[in-house]
Symmetry: C6
Subunit: 76 residues, 6 copies
């Protein structure tokens, strides 16, 4: 991952911030399992497993805290 | 999800903030499993599983931290 | 839940704040499983399961962070 | 629990703050399972289960964040 | 644990702060399971279990948030 | 680990901050399981286990909160 994939935590809207949080959650998985092939195989299984869907939603929630704080909660 | 579903983190009351937190938790699942059909099937199972209900409640709690901070804890 | 059940995050004491945190944890479950009958059945099981008791205690802990911050840690 | 068990989040030292955090974690369990008999039976099991010991340590960690913030990290 | 084991959250460097966070995670386990013998037996098992290693790493991460904040992120 | 591996939490960009968070998550595991041999064996298994990949991503998320705050969210 030599590319720039995270130039900034600023987003125009809370919704874009939420999408960024989801991206960060995915990149966190990618750093541990770099093979796209294996990730795709795993995805087929965990997309059908509500425990893992809730766990994924939790990782997004933690990142959304960070992104929201970085954007001063889009108050400005 | 091209629609605007999160225009702001501001809510009139803590209770509406809690409901927004629950919505964010659901959207976090939806981003990972976009099929409403599959989500409905999974819901039938996890609604009967206290471990998953507690896990869902935890994701709401994390989002409520964010929403509450965004609203300055409704102190104003 | 059309009633007002969360008018404010302010409590008179830390202890009342802790009780409010426990209430928020319960409401988080209720939003996902609205049937009181099913919740009662599940409760009978998870009250005997230490893993789930610890998980419940964790959700309370997360909400207590929010309630404590909202009350400026009852410093005033 | 009609008694006052949490009059304040202030402690004299970080160490006392850590002990308060451990107490809050225990009370969180107690609120969900009020029977001391059942809790004692469960304790015998989970004290031998490293997964649950780590989970307990995590709940303490979350409460310690709150207690530490309440005490301004004992910087004063 | 009558000794003073946590006189302060201040550390000279981020690295020492991380080591303090790891210590706090261990003490959290110790408060729940005071027997060193039992903890040693459990350690032999969970050191070979990646799920528990990740869970331990998570408890350290939570404590590191606290220690880092207490040290104003070693910015001064 | 006598070497200096964490001289600072400052990074030039959010992306480098994310990579530092991933490093902190790995070091957290290393502190509990110091043997590189055993960690390598475990990695072969958990890299194929989506539950553990999501859990790893969560630890990174928690550390990223710390690193992002330390860098004032790279706003300056």
């Amino acid at each position: 991952m030599a590319d720039t994939w995270l130039p900034s935590l600023k987003t125009a809207t809370p919704q874009e911030g939420f999408e960024l949080a989801a991206k960060l959650a995915r990149v966190g998985v990618k750093l541990t399992q770099p093979s796209a092939d294996i990730r795709d195989k795993l995805r087929a299984a965990y997309e059908q497993d509500s425990t893992q869907l809730i766990a994924s939603s939790q990782v997004i929630a933690i990142h959304f805290q960070t992104v929201a704080a970085a954007n001063n909660y889009w108050r400005d």
